[in-house]
């Protein structure tokens, strides 16, 4: 029997309304056979975490283009840990993120930080290779 499809939450926390990237990535992951849940724009960190718990996802990808990534993304990672979500859920993020902000996001638990110009295939491959190892341990 083939493995069940990966479940991925794509979240837009904060007040930023730029959803082009998030929606294009939703479509790419879905075309790659994954189940994708999209939060829609302008969700609070708490709403993103609640959606992740309700949907029992294997991976969470966040997008922000307003420059608020350093306050929003680490906060969501912390809330997930508080809610008991462990390292078995893959965190990744993207947006207009300057190079010097990558390390703080990696330190906060994001395994992938994707900037502008990233090919869709690179993100699909990253999710496929790094998510959904819950049953393998």
């Amino acid at each position: 029997m083939s493995a069940p499809p990966l479940r991925v939450l794509i979240g837009k926390p904060g007040l930023d309304g730029h959803n082009r990237g998030a929606r294009v990535i939703c479509q790419a992951l879905r075309d790659a056979g994954m189940e994708v849940i999209y939060t829609g724009i302008r969700r609070s960190p708490e709403q993103v975490v609640e959606a992740a718990l309700t949907e029992d996802v294997d991976a969470i990808g966040l997008s922000n283009l307003s420059g608020a990534h350093l306050s929003l993304f680490p906060r969501i990672a912390a809330l997930l840990r508080e809610a008991g979500v462990g390292d078995d859920v893959l965190l990744f993020c993207g947006g207009t993120i300057p190079a010097e902000d990558r390390q703080p996001l990696l330190d906060a638990g994001y395994k992938g930080v994707f900037g502008p110009d990233t090919p869709l295939e690179e993100i699909v491959r990253f999710v496929r290779e790094n998510a959904g190892r819950r049953d393998e341990r």
Binding site: L15, G40, A68
Partner: protein
């Protein structure tokens, strides 16, 4: 000589009496004469009807007979960040560098109607624009800016009426008649639901606020553009050029119909409508798009909306170079992209122009890159010679053919929107959103496959490169704003502020009652933006619509 040519010559003569051209005669770099406009020696009826003459219906060739020979487009760089004082300093630097108009970028809390100290604003204060919560903030933002001389454009939508009221209040406190104010509130709420996301209220009451600003401006602020109907963000979200025009004009039709339903005469407000488009890198298609935009809107305004005044037929527009075309890799290449895009806007006859900074794929522009972007416009205006002939590409087989094709495809899309019951029904059904999403996805797939070349990204790559130093907003700004707001509220006459909010609430509850005047009164009595918007949300509700993929 054709009747249209005679009419054009008469219009030029009339215009020159009022506004002489920049030079008594224009010549090329080699001293050859430069004509005002070129046309066939014997234009036929089809030429006069479809292409015509600058300043005459259907305005394919421009909205004015002499265009940039009279005055260059307004060079208007979008700017705002950190605090009102920091943004004021950037404005002054841009004006000192030769910018000719202001364009205010507000932060997201301000755009959605929250004060800087609201919990929902955390992390977003001062990030993508300037935070404005109070009359004090607005006065600081505009300190030393002569409001009766410089036009001001404000990218503000759901809270547009509040920012307009704050500007009127600043003018009044300076002893100016607000009728002297020139500029634009973007105030295009429909595209927020489609593409940009700073909506606050449901569509119905949002449309009421928009039409109320039309009413207010048609008498109190006759030189103000109460709206800038925007295709820019639709294009940024992924649309094609014809989709950009179609959805923009579908929004425009919805506003005019709403204002007419609210009892306004179309010719009383339509001359004050303005538009906003993107300029991307396909130079000839973009030039064609701008020309098609003028022709299509003129036809819609005259024949569909029934406007009688030729001023109501003119599609006046601002252009911004395409943010999504900027690349993070090899960022210097963006300078070239911006120059080509700006050139298309000028060849296409825009009224004002913003050129993006080379570093904007990653952050707000540094002052140096904002000034370089302005210099790009100045080189086009003063060195390239393209501003000395009106519609210099008019009559080109390639450009005329593309103009016809862009117009035809946009018109066909407009029919689709009509078949869906008009733009508001189409937005509620997700029709434009779906088409834009598909175009965005197709574009990304084409870039990924290499079918569409992006220099430095999927062709001519150089591997790892050093990133330029990017602009950063001071993280201390959020706390400083909270302290400032607390002091502001402690200082004011609380009873007066409460009474103004109660009056605003009563007006909001009464369908058709004027709102802008009540908001002006409120902000003059130190009511904050967040309080005005919160009170309106209490009556109107919050938009809970979907952005579901």
């Amino acid at each position: 000589m054709s009747d249209a040519r005679t009419e054009y010559d008469r219009l030029v003569a009339k215009t020159l009496q009022r506004a002489p051209e920049r030079a008594p005669a224009f010549t090329t770099a080699s001293g050859l004469p430069r004509e005002r406009v070129h046309a066939p020696a014997a234009p036929d009826a089809a030429w006069d009807e479809q292409i015509g003459w600058p300043g005459l219906y259907p305005f394919t060739r421009g909205i004015q007979p002499t265009l940039y020979r009279g005055r260059h487009w307004t060079m208007r760089q979008y700017a705002g960040f950190g605090s009102p004082a920091e943004t004021n300093a950037r404005f002054k630097a841009l004006l000192a560098a030769g910018q000719t108009g202001l364009s205010v970028a507000f932060d997201l809390p301000t755009q959605i109607g929250y004060d800087s100290d609201a919990s929902i604003a955390a992390g977003e204060v001062g990030k993508v624009g300037v935070p404005i919560s109070t009359l004090d903030d607005m006065e600081e933002l505009l300190d030393g800016i002569p409001l009766d001389e410089i036009s001001i454009s404000m990218t503000i939508n759901s809270s547009a009426a509040v920012l307009l009221a704050l500007l009127v209040a600043v003018a009044r406190r300076r002893g100016l008649d607000p009728a002297c104010l020139r500029g634009t509130t973007q105030n295009d709420i429909l595209k927020e639901y489609v593409a940009r996301g700073t909506f606050r209220f449901p569509i119905g009451p949002s449309m009421r606020l928009v039409t109320d600003t039309f009413r207010y401006c048609s008498t109190a602020l006759p030189r103000w553009n109460p709206i800038s109907i925007s295709g820019y963000h639709i294009r940024e979200a992924g649309s094609t050029a014809p989709q950009e025009l179609a959805f923009t004009f579908a929004d425009g039709i919805a506003y005019v119909e709403a204002a007419r339903a609210a009892g306004l005469d179309v010719d009383a407000f339509m001359p004050q409508l303005s538009f906003f488009f993107a300029a991307h890198s396909d130079l000839l298609e973009e030039v064609a798009k701008f020309r098609a935009a003028r022709r299509l809107w003129a036809k819609i305004a005259r024949h569909r909306l029934g406007a009688k005044d030729p001023q109501s037929w003119r599609c006046r527009f601002h252009v911004q170079t395409g943010g999504v075309t900027l690349t993070a890799r090899q960022p210097e290449n963006n300078i070239i992209r911006v120059a080509l895009q700006a050139l298309s806007a000028v060849l296409g006859g825009c009224q004002s122009l913003h050129t993006n900074g080379m570093d904007e794929a990653l952050a707000l522009p540094t002052e140096a890159s904002a000034v370089l972007a302005l210099r790009t416009q100045q080189v086009i205006a003063y060195e390239a010679g393209v501003a000395d002939t009106v519609d210099p590409l008019g009559g080109s087989f390639a450009v005329e053919d593309l103009t016809d094709r862009v117009e035809a495809e946009a018109a066909a899309l407009l029919e689709k929107v009509d078949a869906a019951g008009g733009m508001i029904a189409a937005i509620e059904a997700g029709l434009p959103q779906r088409l834009i999403q598909q175009a965005a996805y197709d574009h990304q797939r084409a870039v990924d496959s290499g079918a569409r070349v992006v220099v430095g990204v999927n062709r001519f790559e150089t591997g790892e490169e050093a990133q330029p130093a990017v602009f950063r907003v001071d993280p201390a700004v959020e706390e400083a704003r909270a302290t400032r707001l607390a002091a502001f509220r402690a200082r004011r006459d609380e009873g007066r502020a409460r009474a103004r909010l109660a009056a605003l609430e009563a007006a909001a509850n009464k369908e058709g009652a004027p709102l802008v005047e009540a908001i002006v009164d409120a902000v003059l009595d130190q009511v904050t933006l967040g309080e005005v918007m919160g009170t309106l949300a209490g009556v109107f509700g919050e938009y809970a619509g979907a952005d579901h993929y």
